[in-house]
Amino acid sequence: AFFWLVSLLLSSLIWFIAVKASDPRDESLQKGLLIFGVMFSVLLQEAFRFLYYKLLRKAIEGLVALSEDGCSPISIQQMAYVAGVGFGLMSGAFSMINLLADALGPGTVGIHGDSQLYFLTSAFMTMVLIFLHTFWGILFFHGCEHRRWWEITAVVVMHLAVSGSTFFNPLYVGSLVPSYLLMAIAAAWAYVLSGGSAQNLRRFLLCK
């Protein structure tokens, strides 16, 4: 969560500088700058995820060195999951919390002609992002562990795609549907990477 926060800080710093250096009245330029800010932020987030992976790697080595039986009390997969959840929670919290606070107050959604589904879609989008961050964490760390660079690039590309799809808002079909599809793909992939299989799933569902 802290790492995500720092990446957000840096990316907003970049965006802020860009905005201050540009003309505030030019709407499309502002929007373009915002899009640039979003893309840059996505790249920064992934960079910080990588940094976090490096940090955790060192920690695992330390733990293994100090433990009795030569293996650390927490595995890298667990760390990947936790890192993903941390990223996701922070990103979700920052996206939603002001919305929620405003939702407590009086008002009508979309009274000025915007979409009436603003809150609903924000909630769904945030949820899908939190899940995605968790899965991306697992995929990313797995890719780093096994030196499979294509996995890492896939995560980055997916993140860019999801963020890019939100540019279609308020055409919600354009953003929510692809995001959920990508989430399903990422979920299945992460599940397989974590050692799951169709058999496990069936056994779990049938409570054997």
Partner: protein, 468 residues
């Protein structure tokens, strides 16, 4: 973070400077002195213990090293637990403060300032405002320094009764008066009709149980809850009565002072701790939040294996032998609450004008964490002043930030990460450490950064419903 769990600190020492209100100078000085002595004593004792923790009959270096390694491993295993043990109360305190700030408008209304910050910030020019806030902060810090030095001096001259009395008066004032005001404001906010008799009964019960828990014995959870409530009340008072820029400046300077006072060889807090260790006395258990009730004593004299077995079989209520004047013992007797805390409270609860002093007093209280002899039951201690200043930072962030919840959340995460890092350093250095600097620095950086940089960005993103 696993690397943190790998380095469970055996000691955690935060240093808070404590300033006590004028009229109770001697008392507060004594108490804070004592507290520091206790802290230093604890630290020294812990140091001594960790070195003599090998099996007594074994003189071989290897065995000693092995024991230290086992110690470290146990430390690692329980490290995460102890970090969490501190996260929970700090989070609770912050949650209480933020919830109150958001709902009860009394604490965000400007009703004047304390006499320790005489210069107003409602000036015409920015330069004048900056100058005023710098002067305010300077006055506050000098009051704190004076109090701290007085405390050290008093402690050196063994004026213990004065400290005790001061602590009791302080905790009385805090438990009764401030909570009465708080309750009144909460009732006003929610428009609850209440009669004086019921209020008197509630406050009386709350106060008396608090006094008993803090100064004598009581269930651990109840003591911890009272400490958290007291810290939250103090933090709310500070948030209310400190003007904007002064508050931020004071936070920054306090963490610098904390660093200096604890680590410099001539620092007052360090001298207090060393004096306490020389006299082999316990520091005041008040004003320290303890995560476990530590009753075991005599670590150096027992076989570590036996200790571990004993700790496994014992409950937290096992009474420690009296001959060892470790802080843990004293704390156990006091129910885990240090008199320092009470002193701190007392100082704070003095007349409102003396609040800055009490704040200083609280600040002067060193926070220390001490682990018990048994690694399994070692708890972690953090000074109440640390709680208070963390909560002040987060409370101010939620009260005055344009980013509102984003800023609050960012400061909260920053403070917790700072706390983790401090615990990590504690595990590495194994001596008293100030708990304020790292967390407050992170908190301040994140507050200003989030408020000015992240907020416009997130606003624009939310407006267009872009997601990053």
């Amino acid at each position: 973070m696993t690397e943190l769990s790998a380095h469970l600190p055996q000691f955690q020492h935060g240093q808070l400077t404590e300033n006590f209100p004028d009229n109770h100078l001697s008392n507060t000085n004594d108490s804070s002195e004592r507290r520091r002595h206790d802290n230093s004593e604890r630290r020294r004792n812990d140091n001594a213990e960790s070195e003599t923790n090998g099996q007594p009959q074994n003189n071989i270096q290897q065995v000693v090293e092995q024991d230290e390694e086992e110690d470290e491993e146990l430390t690692l295993k329980y490290g995460a637990k102890h970090v969490i043990m501190l996260f929970v109360p700090v989070t609770l305190c912050m949650v209480v403060v933020v919830a109150t700030i958001k709902s009860v408008s009394f604490y965000t209304r400007k009703d004047g300032q304390l006499i320790y910050t005489p210069f107003t910030e409602e000036t015409e020019t920015v330069g004048q405002r900056a100058l005023n806030s710098i002067l305010n902060a300077a006055i506050m810090i000098s009051v704190i320094i004076v109090m701290t030095i007085l405390l050290v001096v008093l402690y050196k001259y063994r004026c213990y009764k004065v400290i005790h009395g001061w602590l009791i008066i302080s905790s009385l004032l805090l438990l009764f008066f401030f909570s009465f005001i708080y309750l009144g404001e909460v009732f006003k906010t929610y428009n609850v009709a209440m009669d004086y008799i019921t209020v008197a009964l509630m406050i009386w019960n709350f106060g008396v149980v608090g006094m008993i828990c803090i100064h004598w014995k009581g269930p651990l959870r109840l003591q911890q809850a009272y400490l958290i409530m007291i810290s939250a009340l103090m933090a709310l008072v500070f948030i209310k009565y400190l003007p904007e820029w002064t508050a931020w400046l004071i936070l920054a300077v306090i963490s610098v002072y904390d660093l200096v006072a604890v680590l410099c060889p001539k620092g007052p807090l360090r001298m207090l701790v060393e004096t306490a260790q020389e006299r082999n006395e316990t520091l005041f258990p008040a004003l320290i939040y303890s995560s476990t009730m530590i009753w075991l004593v005599n670590m150096a004299e027992e076989d570590p294996e036996a200790q571990r077995k004993a700790s496994k079989n014992s409950t937290y209520d096992k009474q420690a032998p009296a001959n060892q004047t470790q802080n843990e013992g004293a704390e156990a007797d006091d129910g885990g609450f240090s008199q320092e805390w009470q002193q701190q409270r007392d100082n704070r609860i003095g007349p409102i004008e003396s609040t800055p002093e009490s704040r200083a007093a609280v600040q002067a209280l060193p926070s220390n964490s001490q682990t018990s002899e048994d690694p399994e039951e070692r708890g972690v201690k953090l000074g109440l002043g640390d709680f208070i200043f963390y909560s002040v930072l987060v409370g101010k962030a939620s009260a005055t930030a344009s980013g509102d919840w984003n800023t609050t959340l960012a400061c909260f995460v920053a403070i917790l990460i700072g706390l983790c890092l401090t615990l990590l350093l504690l595990a590495i250095f194994k001596k008293a450490l100030p708990a304020l600097p790292i967390s407050i620095t992170f908190g301040l950086v994140f507050y200003f950064a989030t408020d000015n940089l992240v907020q416009p960005f997130m606003d624009q993103l939310a407006f267009h419903q872009f997601y990053i």
